[in-house]
């Protein structure tokens, strides 16, 4: 039945299985796995052995050798089924000598494998043709740990179909990608989906590739960490666009200042900044043939670890979005129409003597009326001047329109960013006290980074101006705070739950300034960039990590390993498996033992190599679990997916510091001394 080449197989495939049928279609998935491998190995003439470790097979069900359909000719694959009877499982657990677990079952197979290389995987995996073609090329090297991304196919793979039909189903029904930095849903065209609340606006044409960790949230706002290099795919607006993003260095970037680079498709540095704090940057993206462009952020001095998190987190991005790049509309709306529309407000301005008494920049008398009218003539959308860029932070209520009079209520500290494009350095506002302070006068205070920049007394409808330390084209973040009200704070408002301290009717450019000369042209080949805003960093990493400085220095620049779904694909030379003594045979099932194997291999000197797309493994979807359930003698899978746990983080930190593997097994790992029954397709023998 078996036409195995004489001699040793090049590759041993080791998986564990049992005919427990807890997963509903478990047997189908095992069948797809074994048939798929045998067929692929035959097509590519890859001498292999397929080892199934049948752990504690149920006595009332047929063994896998009988339950599965085997081809009449297994081609270049020899199939070996090694049985670990329940009696051994129970005996070991009674003695506390060996824990139950999928990884010890894999060790049983690895220890008995004869291949030059051994791939530890799981049933329910299909291998792409490109993957097996690569394996058959016999280019694997000793001293390497091979890994690959896992593509999860939606349930419904045609179990009775041909291999090509099954692979076609998987390709067209990818539900999820388990990559180095996270687990992602994919869009129809294969991009990683941006989850709700991500740092890019929905439908923005911005997608994240390799190097980005999944979005997180913090008091400083939602963000994503990037590792030392991170891809972004851009669908730029026609003719190119301007990307704006807000970023600050993380613990991996080292001591300030931090260099952040953008690398273009050709691998050239397209932009570079030296950053000291949380910075909003603009990057002009040139037009691209075909529309979609890939850029890569890089941190040349990055890659430093921390002790509490195995990730490398060089930079934190708070938002990435396209900027409005059309030429600002500096034209004023017609005077008469504007005055007519805003007459009620302007009349109140007049009625309240049309006087504002700003403490820093008094604008009083008829000048206030004329300037208020001018400000209103500048209005675009919302309450803002269409000739400048504004961005709202906290403290603002929704935009309201009552009879054509538009405004926003504000309460407490409110925040917004403003960017003037025409050299203006004066912010003008039309403000009125609200009911929560009894419509009484108050001081409106403007602060930048906690520093007071202006203060104005608001009495009735008031026009105020504040000179700001801004530069043309650079965003500045303002905090507005009402202070010293003539009445009490927090006065109740009938039928209104909100706090309405004051309202802003218009906000925009005040007295015109002089445009600044254009900045220097970027160096050859570089893309135009501009710093839009700078604010303090959310975390002072140098101070936060000072207690760990010694330990971090000892770690050097460790790799961040690809641990997602690593139990489905870990491949090394046989002697390398012996070097690390297989998976840790620990009795703490909360451990991510497959992740631990990757770390141990790495620090035993095996270099992690990622087999790239289109080399793929597909995980066949199933309903209720992988088949390793609590009923399966307490066996459950280790990290099928998900980030490494705290245990692995702690062990990884130690390995990084010590520059040595941490191996938990003795030399009898994989039940080396245990005679186990082995079934090949034709014969049954006792094998040791």
């Amino acid at each position: 039945m078996c036409s195995l080449e004489a001699g040793r197989p090049y590759l041993s495939i080791v998986a564990t299985a049992r005919n427990g049928n807890h997963g509903g279609n478990l047997l189908d998935r095992i069948q797809v796995f074994v048939s798929g491998w045998i067929e692929q190995a035959r097509r590519h003439n890859l001498p292999s052995e397929l080892i199934l470790v049948e752990w504690n097979p149920p006595e009332d069900r047929p063994r896998l050798a009988e339950a599965l359909h085997w081809p009449a000719d297994t081609g270049s694959t020899q199939v070996r089924i090694i049985e670990v009877p329940g009696e051994i499982d129970r005996r070991n657990r009674r003695a506390g000598a060996l824990p139950p677990g999928q990884t010890i079952a894999k060790n049983v197979g690895i220890r008995r494998a004869r291949g030059e290389f051994i791939l530890a995987t799981n049933t329910g995996i299909l291998f792409s043709g490109e993957m097996v073609r690569f394996l058959a090329a016999r280019k694997l090297e000793k001293g390497k740990l091979y890994r690959t991304d896992r593509y999860d196919a939606a349930a419904g793979v045609p179990a009775g179909g041909s291999l090509d039909e099954q692979l076609a189903w998987c390709r067209s029904h990818v539900a999820r990608l388990c990559a180095r930095h996270g687990i992602y849903r994919l869009t129809a065209d294969g991009m990683r989906e941006n989850p709700p609340g991500d740092i890019v606006p929905p439908g923005s044409g911005i997608w994240f590739g390799e190097g980005w960790f999944e979005p997180e949230s913090a008091v400083t706002g939602g963000f994503r960490w990037m590792a030392s290099g991170a891809e972004v795919f851009l669908q730029a607006p026609g003719g190119g666009g301007a990307l704006t993003f807000e970023a600050e260095a993380g613990p991996g970037a080292g001591a300030p200042p931090h260099t952040l680079q953008v690398i273009d498709d050709d691998g050239k540095v397209a932009a570079e900044w030296l950053l000291l704090s949380r910075t909003t940057l603009r990057l002009d993206i040139p037009a691209t043939q075909g529309g979609r462009r890939r850029i890569r952020f890089r941190v040349p001095g990055g890659g430093l670890p921390t002790t509490g998190d195995p990730r490398i987190t060089d930079f934190r991005f708070y938002r990435i979005e396209w900027m409005e790049t059309r030429t600002p509309d500096f034209a004023l709306r017609p005077f008469a129409a504007t005055v007519r529309k805003w007459m009620p407000i302007l009349l109140r301005l007049v009625k309240d003597r049309l006087l504002a008494q700003p403490l820093s920049f008094p604008v009083a008398g008829p000048r206030a009326f004329l300037r208020a009218a001018r400000l209103l003539r500048l209005l675009g959308g919302d309450i803002f001047d269409r000739g400048a860029t504004f961005r709202l932070g906290g403290g603002w209520h929704s935009f309201e329109d009552i009879g054509g009079i538009t405004f926003r209520w504000a309460h407490g500290d409110s925040e917004f960013g403003v960017c003037f494009q025409d050299g203006t350095a004066c912010l003008a506002m039309l403000v009125e006290p609200g009911p929560s302070i009894g419509f009484q006068p108050f001081d409106l205070v403007v602060r930048i980074e906690g520093r007071e920049e202006g203060r104005a007394r608001i009495r009735g409808v008031t026009y105020v101006e504040f000179d700001l330390p801004v530069r043309q084209g650079r965003e500045v973040l303002l905090n507005l705070t009402p202070e010293n009200p003539a009445g009490a704070w927090g006065q109740p408002i009938a039928h209104e739950a909100r706090t309405l301290d004051y309202r802003v009717l218009a906000c925009g450019r005040g007295r015109p300034g002089r445009p600044l000369p254009a900045g220097p042209a970027p160096p050859d080949g570089r893309w135009p960039t501009r710093v839009l805003a700078i604010r303090p960093a959310g975390t002072d990493w140098a101070a936060a990590l000072a207690p760990q400085a010694g330990a971090i220095a000892e770690m050097g620049r460790p790799p961040f390993l690809h641990l997602h779904a690593c139990g489905d694909f870990q491949m090394m030379a046989r002697e390398d498996w012996y070097d690390v003594r297989g998976y840790a045979e620990l009795d703490d099932l909360s451990m991510h033992l497959d992740s631990l194997l990757s770390y141990a291999a790495c620090y035993a000197g095996k270099q992690e190599v990622l087999l790239p797309d289109p080399m793929r493994i597909y995980h066949i979807g199933h309903g209720t679990g992988s088949g390793w359930t609590a009923e399966d003698r307490g066996v459950r899978p280790e990290s099928a997916a998900g980030a490494a746990g705290a245990d692995v983080a702690a062990l990884a930190a130690q390995m990084r510091s010590l520059h040595a593997a941490m191996i938990f097994n003795l030399d009898h790992w994989g039940m080396a001394g245990e005679p186990l029954r082995e079934t090949t397709l034709e014969r049954t023998e006792a094998a040791k």
């Binding site: 506390g96 012996y578 070097d579 003594r581 620990l586 130690q654 010590l658 941490m662 191996i663 938990f664």
Partner: protein
């Protein structure tokens, strides 16, 4: 000469001819003599392997500096050379001339004995120890440790081994025991310090099993180990000992239980200790001089910051007048709230409940005597081979062995190893100085805190931690060998 039998024991030590500590070759000669001559006399087949690491330029090879037996029928002396090239292929080659643990591993890896003893070149082996080894009753499931006795450096040399050992027994300076290191004249009594939990000349002396004095938080105290001994000289009309103690962080549920053992080792009386208690131990009538052993009745919890198990802290022990009892009795006189260990250090490990048998091993001076079967060394892949300043690595191996299932067996007095004093000898007092030297040279070392963390992993997972790959002990390297 007929072929030598397979060695029962391989002794492995490592050195370089740099006169480390002064008088190096003299001390080394005494060490070799004490082993070879006694092994020959006892008929113990053995080999003594010296790994000569990174031989200093301009100095002769070590074998030429020593008197070595040309044709000893039972003991081969083997010198293995690890070249400068190999040494400089390792990190910190310029800052550390000698990677002691890797050197020992190179010897262990090439040892032929059934058992392998890793030691150092300035150790003398007592006659009782050699007799025990020659009985060939070592257990392959155990690893062996023992106290180290430091002796004056002016040993007679050359001299018959009996004279050297007699000098050693008469010139003891200190003992390195499980519970610590202290000056000792060989009587097993721990000297009273100032302050201490017993008064000088009170007729109460501390024997083995007491950890050192700790004075943090304003109280002078000592913790007793699993079995702690009191050596008593009963004053007239006093048969009551009043002991002030509280439950330590390792006490399960905040409750310790302390037993007094009778002469057969059976528990004669016990007392629960919850919070801070005054205990009264009533002695039965008997001779004025006696020894009392106290034992923890309940297994202790593993701690987060300390490898020791601290079930109890004892603040004072004193005599109180009172008649002897008919037998032993152990009572609580009064009780007060004790320390809240949930907010103090050391604290209970969060994984204490899953630790199977946490145990405080005898790791003091373990680089001078760690012995186990060759197969055990192989299973554990020897010492961790971190190319760093070699601190705590030998202790780490002990914990690895223990959590791999090998039982710690302590060879007791009069079995002894003597260490010939030299200026660079390690003591707890020189620890800071050593750390400073390592820092000055830019060489990392394994801090005590990291050592404890690694032990915690082993305790938590009930598994050994092995740090070497299959190539441990420079397996892939050819090491030139000179045999005698």
């Amino acid at each position: 000469m007929p072929a030598r039998p397979q060695p029962y024991i391989s002794v492995v030590a490592a050195a370089r001819n740099d006169n480390h500590g002064g008088d190096m070759t003299r001390r080394m000669q005494a060490c070799l003599d004490s082993w070879i001559e006694q092994a020959r006399a006892l008929g113990l087949p053995s080999e003594f392997i010296v790994v000569e690491w990174n031989p200093p330029a301009g100095r002769p090879p070590l074998p030429t500096e020593l008197r070595l037996p040309a044709d000893d029928p039972l003991c081969a002396v083997r010198f293995l050379e690890v070249s400068r090239e190999i040494h400089h292929s390792l990190p910190f080659g310029d800052a550390i001339p000698f990677h002691q643990m890797i050197a020992k591993n190179a010897g262990v890896r090439r040892a032929a004995g059934e058992f392998v003893l890793a030691t150092n070149i300035d150790i003398l082996f007592s006659a009782a120890l050699m007799r025990h080894l020659s009985e060939r009753k070592l257990d392959p499931r155990a690893f062996y440790r023992m106290d180290r006795w430091d002796i004056a450096r002016a040993i007679p040399c050359p001299a018959p081994v009996e004279d050297v050992l007699a000098f050693a027994a008469a010139n003891l300076k200190r003992v390195c025991a499980r519970e610590g290191t202290w000056a000792s004249a060989g009587d097993g009594i721990r000297p009273v310090e100032t302050p201490d939990i017993v008064a000088p000349d009170s007729g109460i002396r501390l024997g083995r099993g007491w950890y050192g004095v700790e004075s943090g938080d304003g109280f002078t105290k000592r913790s007793p180990g699993p079995i702690a001994e009191l050596v008593l000289e009963r004053p007239h009309a006093a048969s009551h000992l009043v002991i002030e103690a509280d439950a330590g962080p390792s006490a399960r549920g905040g409750r310790a239980e302390w037993q007094v053992l009778d002469s057969s080792g059976a528990a004669a009386a016990s007392v629960p200790v919850e919070g801070r208690c005054r205990l009264r131990l009533t002695l039965p009538s008997g001779p004025r001089g006696c020894a009392v052993r106290l034992r923890h009745a309940r297994p202790g919890l593993g701690l987060r910051e300390d490898v020791r198990l601290l079930e109890l802290r004892v603040f004072s022990i004193r005599w109180e007048p009172g008649a002897a009892g008919e037998g032993w009795s152990f009572d609580v006189l009064d009780r007060a709230p004790g320390a809240d260990w949930s907010t103090r250090i050391p604290s209970v490990s969060p994984y204490a409940a899953t630790m199977r048998d946490p145990f405080h091993l005898h790791t003091n001076a373990c680089g001078d005597f760690t012995m186990m079967s060759r197969d055990a060394w192989s299973a554990l892949r020897g010492y961790p081979e971190f190319p760093i300043w070699p601190t705590h690595l030998d202790s780490l191996l002990c914990y690895t062995a223990y959590h791999a299932g090998f039982a710690e067996v302590t060879l007791e007095d009069p079995m002894r190893v003597y260490h010939i004093e030299h200026p660079a000898v390690w003591t707890p007092e020189t620890e800071e100085e050593r750390e400073a030297r390592a820092a000055q040279r830019g060489v990392p070392l394994l801090s005590y805190q990291t050592f404890v963390e690694l032990c915690q992993f082993m305790r938590r997972f009930n598994a050994p931690l092995i740090f070497c790959g299959a190539g441990w002990g420079l397996a892939g390297h050819h090491l030139p060998e000179t045999s005698f």
